[in-house]
Amino acid sequence: MSQELPASPEDTDLVLVQRTVAGDQRAYGLLVLKYQRRIQRLIGRMVRDVDLVEDISQETFVRAYRALHQFRGDAQFYTWLYRIAVNTAKKFLLELKHDPTVSESFLANDEEDETSWRKNELTTDEGPESILAAKEIAAVVNAAMDDLPADLKQAITLREIEGLSYEEIAAAMDCPVGTVRSRIFRAREAISQRVKPLLDKQTGKRW
């Protein structure tokens, strides 16, 4: 099947979906690695218990996998995945509500709006190690950012936080696109070098 020339991260998503549907299950793993944190945060706003959040997240990705052949690519993949996550969580919550053995503390309020987030709500039921691990990662990323040379820091900020394209960043920083690409890469790599050991520690082994 012919592929559209991707010009945005969303198009890369579509390529990964197409590969998965064509039979390459590994391509789906890349989508999972990309979106699992956002999905878990979303579900963490509806459900307190962290194990349950993980279960519902797992279920979300399984359902999305099954329905992948229905994804047309006319909308963004994350939007499509988001809806599946919300529906999956709702279904779980409905079942939990009818289960007399489940205590109220499992359930958060019925808020699904991603924009009205409550800071650190998710971490109230995490063990202290996990909370620390997440905080450490965030701290290291921010520290690494601060240590970056100004041009690298600006390039990656415009890309990751402002969401500008390479062309737009090139215009903003008055430099060629190739330089933008190189700066973003070097910034990423510098931050990654400091974050990697922490991620490895979480996994318990090197990949």
Binding site: A27, I161, S192, L199, T203, W207
Partner: protein, 208 residues
């Protein structure tokens, strides 16, 4: 960080930003899919981006463990025989292979989750009632599962295409043989007559 390593990582960086096109994109994806280190780089770059946008997105548990657990479950998801569009009815095995096969790339013939063999024990621990179902591919083969049957087995018959109102289904003749055997001997059902027996009788394949 040596030269080729750096340039490969820079490709991955561009991939994350969706700035690779066509062949370059396909190639970069192939590299990430085939190489553990490359996939780790993809993952780390994405974590960095997420955390820059919101510290809430810093992972509190291992993302890899989550993925491994998911893969155990996905290994049990049924693979459907590939459906071709109705107007491809006259497809020869060669055409079928062309339609289904992915573009050939370095990782294609490698064991799919070779590096996840390490996680085999983790899979057992994570699995509950379901048990471990590791998805592996043994031997040299492309992603064209059905086509591989005809490529490897000498003088294979053409792939059996079933009548279908929806499209032409490409079937594995070996599995059809076993299904027929299962239906023949396995009707131990309370619902066997008339429904079960008739169902089996109506289904019975052409492979006899």
């Amino acid at each position: 960080m040596n030269e080729s390593n750096a340039s490969s990582k820079e490709q991955i960086s561009a991939l994350v930003d969706g700035c690779l096109q066509g062949e370059a994109c396909a190639h970069a994806l192939n590299v990430v899919l085939a190489d553990e280190q490359a996939m780790q780089t993809w993952h780390t770059y994405l974590v960095v981006g997420d955390v820059l946008r919101s510290s809430e997105l810093a992972p509190s548990r291992s993302d890899l463990a989550f993925l491994e657990k998911l893969e155990c479950r996905l290994a049990l998801e049924p693979q459907r025989p590939q459906m071709l569009a109705a107007d491809h009815v006259a497809a020869s095995p060669a055409n079928v292979a062309a339609v289904i096969a992915d573009t050939s790339h370095p990782g294609a013939n490698a064991s799919v989750f070779r590096w996840k063999m390490l996680a085999a024990s983790a899979c057992v621990a994570l699995a509950g009632v379901v048990g471990m179902g590791q998805w592996t591919q043994t031997g040299q083969r492309t992603d064209a599962q059905m086509a591989a049957v005809t490529q490897v087995v000498p003088a294979a018959p053409p792939l059996v295409t079933a009548d279908s109102s929806v499209g032409t289904m490409v079937r594995d003749p070996r599995l059809d043989e076993l299904m027929a055997a299962h239906r023949q001997l396995g009707g131990h059902s309370a619902l066997q007559v008339p429904a079960g027996f008739l169902r089996n009788a109506t289904y019975e394949g052409a492979a006899r």
